[in-house]
């Protein structure tokens, strides 16, 4: 940890890990969520799903042991772990859309107080890709978002309403940021935990929607 306030990316990942459990089936989105993989203890069986068609694979191999046919959805190399399996996109998305994943941990540009998720397209982008994000977010039992609380120029990402193109409506249940853990409830945002060095007032000031404590 640096001496800056709040959690760094690994700190957020460790905070997410504290909410996971042995035996959970989890999909990690590209970007910040994949860091969670780095903090899962070797003796904890969290079963990672990758939408290109793997379940239960292990962390990257040394460079000289890479298998060209064994990667995750981001193209990162994987290793075979006991209990792992491979399958096609049809079965992979049946798992995702069909409610078989316990947790999907996704990155986001914006999240609304109603749980709307915007994580695939910035305004004006012509080749933005949705990938599996829409299917995952409508299907997983729990959708958690990991993101910086604000944009680099200090704009809130937790909003009354998203301004970016939506991935899915009303799906996000919990948000982990450098500043806080926040639940999305039927009555709006609820502060669960404040990162070290911040106060509830700091978090509320950086959030563009009402935040209950």
């Amino acid at each position: 940890m640096s001496d800056e306030r709040g959690w760094d990316e690994h700190g957020i990942a460790r905070r997410v890990l504290a909410d996971l459990w042995e035996g959970a089936y989890v999909n990690l989105g590209v970007g910040m969520p994949v860091i969670v993989n780095e903090v899962i203890p070797a003796d904890m069986e969290v079963v990672l799903h990758s939408e290109n068609g793997t379940l239960g694979m292990g962390p990257p191999p040394p460079e000289d042991a890479r298998d060209p046919d064994l990667t995750n959805a981001g193209g990162g190399y994987l290793t075979v772990r006991p209990g792992a399996s491979v399958f096609d996109s049809s079965l992979s998305f049946s798992m995702l859309r069909g409610g078989h994943l316990d947790v999907a941990i996704l990155g986001a540009y914006q999240v609304s107080a109603e749980g709307d998720l915007a994580n695939w397209k910035r305004p004006g982008q012509t080749t933005a890709g949705i990938g599996g994000a829409a299917d995952i977010s409508v299907g997983a039992k729990r959708v958690w978002v990991m993101m910086k609380h604000q944009t680099n120029d200090g704009q809130a990402r937790l909003l009354k309403q998203c301004t970016f193109s939506l991935t899915a409506r009303g799906v996000v249940k919990r948000v982990y940021t450098d500043m806080a853990v926040i639940d999305i409830t039927p009555t709006g945002l609820k502060l669960v935990e404040v990162a070290p060095g911040y106060t509830a007032a700091d978090v509320a000031a950086a959030t563009d929607a009402p935040l209950a404590s």
Binding site: E45, V47, L55, P82, S94, M95, G98, H100
Partner: protein, 222 residues
């Protein structure tokens, strides 16, 4: 440590209760979970809705449950030859919904895959499509077929490991992989448990995410 293996058929079927919907795998006797059906019988659960290819042919398995009046409704494709079902219908105890086999499969798959339904040409303009919504798309009419989701799926396979990964032998597959996807609790009876590293990734037919309990039974007993 993940360990979906249970020590007895009784544990494997625990929780099946009155009024539940249960998927039963197998085509004729191949891939049919006879020991789990014996276990289901022992639970005493009644008023069941069953989805299976047949309606209980022969003298064991589903036939016993039907004969003993434990099944309220069967959704199946091929009840032909089920004396138990014919008699239960005659007694007014059993409701029978006959559905084309491919449609039955797609309906369970839709449930497992999170789809709201599928459009199929099968059954259109026949008794098999009666009462089902029709949807026209690009000038062609289809039946709208609803998902079938179940409380339990009872399936049979060849090998499994503690993660719930499953492999089938030859024609054992039939409805089993789709049923495994469509139930809140999927129970599989296998001939062999694979310990240590488990099944090899490319050997797995039904990944463990779809399977909740595994029990080994003696193949000879089947």
């Amino acid at each position: 440590m993940i360990d979906k293996i249970v020590g007895s058929v009784r544990e494997a079927v625990a929780g099946i209760a009155d009024g539940m919907t249960v998927l039963i795998g197998g085509f004729t006797d191949v891939g049919a979970p006879f020991q789990l059906l014996d276990g289901l019988y022992e639970t005493g659960a009644k008023n069941l809705t069953v989805v299976a290819n047949g309606a209980g042919a022969g003298e064991r398995g589903l036939a016993v449950l039907v004969r003993e009046g434990r099944v309220r409704k069967i959704i199946c494709s091929f009840p032909t030859g089920s004396v138990a079902a014919r008699d239960a219908i005659a007694r007014g105890e059993l409701e029978l919904e006959v559905t084309p086999q491919g449609t039955m499969t797609e309906r369970m798959r839709a449930a497992g895959a999170g789809l709201g339904g599928v459009l199929t040409p099968t059954g259109l303009g026949t008794e098999l499509g009666e009462g089902k919504p029709v949807y026209e798309l690009d000038g062609k009419a289809y039946l709208v077929e609803r998902p079938i989701h179940a409380d339990f799926a009872l399936i049979r396979a060849w090998k499994a490991d503690r993660w719930g990964n499953v492999a089938y032998r030859y024609a054992q597959r039939n409805f089993n992989p789709v049923m495994a996807m469509a139930a809140s609790c999927t129970v599989v009876q296998v001939d062999e448990l694979v310990d240590g590293q488990g099944l090899a990734p490319m050997e797995v037919d039904t990944p463990g995410i779809f399977v909740h309990r595994v029990v080994r039974v003696d193949r000879g007993a089947a």
